[in-house]
Symmetry: C2
Subunit: 305 residues, 2 copies
């Protein structure tokens, strides 16, 4: 799957992933109204609205980008119907041949991590039958529990040709509270990065490992160091745009081959029609606004090479 | 909710929580067969079997214990039908007046943590309507992202009178890989424990905070130190029994008032009928075996006082 991701990044010339993190407040009125007319002001109505919104954005952008990254929390907050919309979104994006990074930030010990890995990346046995579940291509994972929390994910990734992005240095303001603390003179995130590189050796693709890392765009100095610590790990970079990361600041996240990083934008793309720059599209053409925002983001990022 | 948990622990004289972490291999044949007869070898069939299994255990133990802790990964691995079984289990346990600790180990940044908090502990607005979702009483949370990953959970807890157990020192063998690393001469888990105590000051119950901690039974020396660092935080203690923690080793997790800790057992209770000690009950009476295992566990733990 890492090979597919790299191929698609090369083909689209777009080291970009669109974060499908819908909030009800993002949705154009016509979508919400239609869903509520059909399902009422119910969780099913909210889930339908979110799904239609996502479908519009995927339809308008799938030919430009290699991947999407639905953030499961935004669906989980609408309970079971919300999770069904997540499921539908993942499956639809895969039909469009997009790589799907499930931003699920799961992580637990042994058999529990194995169950999460099964749910998100693997297959489950029921009697004599085998079923795929959410079936994302990649999942984000939290490293706080150490190797025996990660290994069950890696095992499933090997079986299924799938991959991970492990949280190393997150984009939020207080990420340094624990992640930056010095251990033997080096910050914790470097130690985690070293482990990611080690875990990654165990599951290599052609040029990059199936086991990548999350490093926020908001900390380019740290990105530079982590790039060197994990030369074979793809870096998923959140925090561009709305959170303050700039294109210039993204340089250190890439290798000299122009690969090695994929930059996420969520709000900046999916909610583009609400920004002044794209207001001319209007709410009814929100998906066209998202398409234009993707084109502009790709241009912005490619300007650094 | 922490007050209710403490009251129930006092009333039952049982600082014990039953972990509802069902695996298909745990289920007695008669339950699986009945579910498959009705729903086929489908995800719905697996989910029905798990739900019936849980119901049996809850019915047989709810008068003895203060709380249950369903581990969502075990349900998530069966996709949407599995999550519906989680939902049903939470609601049923609450009907039986049990406190429900959702072992979800979620954690993300700002608005994303807020969405998880809404999904698991809060309520969501859809148009003019308000809905409860999974509605657990407590949730477990991962601290790796720092304060702005935790605060949205605390905010929802305050609104809803609910609580958290934050991962401090986990019970698994490799938990030390990052958690034990020394920062200014003290292990990371102590720094996390200090933050838990600080976060907890912001949301106090009568004697204990709504914000508790997870500290594995497998590390009693560390439990002792953490008990002192977080005197007002309830400690959720996994790792008793199957993972190797002993009753004697649990002493340091409690305060002098005999409170302050609640000990989890999952496999040891829900799969008791497969152990030699309880084999006499037979698979058909698996729930009675679980009841006996709960009685024995309570006696074992109370022997330390």
């Amino acid at each position: 799957m890492i090979n597919k991701l790299v191929d698609k990044i090369k083909k689209t010339n777009a080291p970009v992933v669109v974060g499908l993190d819908p909030m009800m407040s993002y949705l154009p009125e016509q979508i919400t109204k239609k869903a509520f007319d059909e399902f009422g002001e119910t969780l099913e109505g909210a889930a339908e609205a979110i799904w239609q919104y996502n479908k519009g954005i995927i339809d308008a952008t799938y030919d430009l980008i290699p991947a999407v990254k639905p953030q499961i929390a935004m669906y989980e907050q609408f309970g079971i119907p919300g999770l069904a919309a997540f499921d539908k979104t993942v499956k639809y994006a895969k039909e469009k041949d997009l790589v799907v990074i499930g931003d699920v930030k799961r992580g637990d010990i042994g058999s529990t991590s194995a169950a999460y890995a099964t749910g998100h990346l693997g297959k489950v046995q029921v009697g004599s039958k085998i079923y795929s579940l959410f079936d994302e291509d990649f999942a984000t994972v939290n490293p706080y529990l150490g190797t025996d929390g990660i290994k069950p994910f890696v095992d499933v990734c090997k079986e299924e040709n799938k991959g991970l992005f492990i949280l190393v240095k997150t984009s939020n303001p207080s990420s340094g509270e624990f992640q930056d603390r010095l251990i033997d003179g080096r910050p914790l995130y470097e130690w985690v990065g070293e482990q990611v590189a080690k875990w990654g050796e165990d599951h290599m693709g052609n040029d990059y490992s199936y086991i990548g890392a999350v490093v926020g765009a908001t900390y380019p100095e740290m990105g530079k160091v982590l790039r060197q610590i994990m030369p074979k790990s793809y870096i998923l970079v959140p925090g561009y745009g709305a959170q303050g990361g700039t294109a210039e600041g993204l340089k250190p996240y890439f290798n000299e081959d122009g690969l090695g990083a994929i930059v996420n934008s969520s709000r900046g793309i999916i909610c583009a029609y609400k920004q002044e720059q794209y207001a001319k599209f209007g709410a009814e053409n929100y998906a066209d606004a998202s398409r234009q925002a993707v084109i502009d983001m790709i241009e912005d990022i490619n300007s650094i090479f």
